[in-house]
Symmetry: C2
């Protein structure tokens, strides 16, 4: 059994989703929540809330691997900068704990969860709920965090079957 932490970084809210995956690739839900960063006084304090929030979740749930969405293109330089900052803070929080971090593009996540790289965001969120047997509707950021965790679970299960590492299976160095 491997525990995976999925992160959907955002400078106002960062979604967090934690799942377990067994050797056959079956996934089960462990936890999800948003880290709400808006309460902080200024931007550096938001980053602190984000890093401390992730550190606390790592201590409580002891994930072994981390998955995070790769951002290819943001809408504009301003939102790219904000998103980048949250992403950099989130990655630094987990990489300092020596957790391996795997990055997946939005199209890879859609392919893994819905079966189509061009699926709608709502379909991804719906499928995440089904795959994890959740009774209540997920908020968008938690659903996205769980979706990237599920993607990594599938990639590593495929890799296991083929005797490869997750990076090799997904065609990465």
């Amino acid at each position: 059994m491997t525990r995976i932490l999925g992160i959907d970084p955002g400078s106002q809210r960062t979604g967090v989703g934690i799942i377990d995956v067994d050797a056959s690739g079956r996934v089960s839900h462990v936890h999800h929540q948003p880290l709400v960063l808006l309460g902080a006084d200024d931007f550096p304090q938001r980053m602190k809330l984000l890093v401390l929030g992730l550190a606390e979740l790592c201590l409580e749930f002891q994930p072994q691997e981390v998955a995070i969405e790769k951002v290819f293109m943001a809408r504009n330089p301003d939102s790219a900068l904000k998103l980048g900052q949250a992403r950099g803070a989130a990655i630094s929080a987990v990489v300092l704990r020596d957790l391996p971090v795997h990055e997946y593009a939005a199209s890879e996540i859609k392919l893994a969860v819905v079966g189509r790289g061009g699926a709608e965001k709502q379909q991804v969120q719906h499928m995440v709920g089904l795959m994890l047997n959740l009774k209540t509707k997920l908020q968008a950021d938690a659903a996205d965090a769980l979706a990237v965790a599920i993607t990594h679970a599938h990639v590593r299960a495929t890799a296991n079957r083929l005797g490869l590492t997750a990076r090799q299976a997904w065609g990465r160095k």
Copy 2:
């Protein structure tokens, strides 16, 4: 005497500059160096190099306050994202050590160092060398890191004279 760490974040190289400032606002050079991040295997490892590099410098030089350039607009979403990630990682490294972080816009730095908000980058670098009595030419990222540290030194010296905090003096909440 207060020790200030200036950071010029970049995803390939992050400039670091450390100065001391006395009660009258006189600055003196302590240290500068680039943190070269290109050697890392992948992006998360780069962020780890950045965070560990800053942590090491904080341990060695014990800065009390941190200054970092505020980015209003990057050239394009892709470079904004990369810069944002480095900036987020750098801020999270120092904010976790409970160091206060002050952000200054490029125009504020130029005004503080050269006296004109529209000064050229080369003028800023030249003035930094003069103000700190450096005999050798500075590399751009180290010069920028020292420049934002000097800016903060001036702002806090002005604030001291007026009996205000640096944030109040600079018209911030």
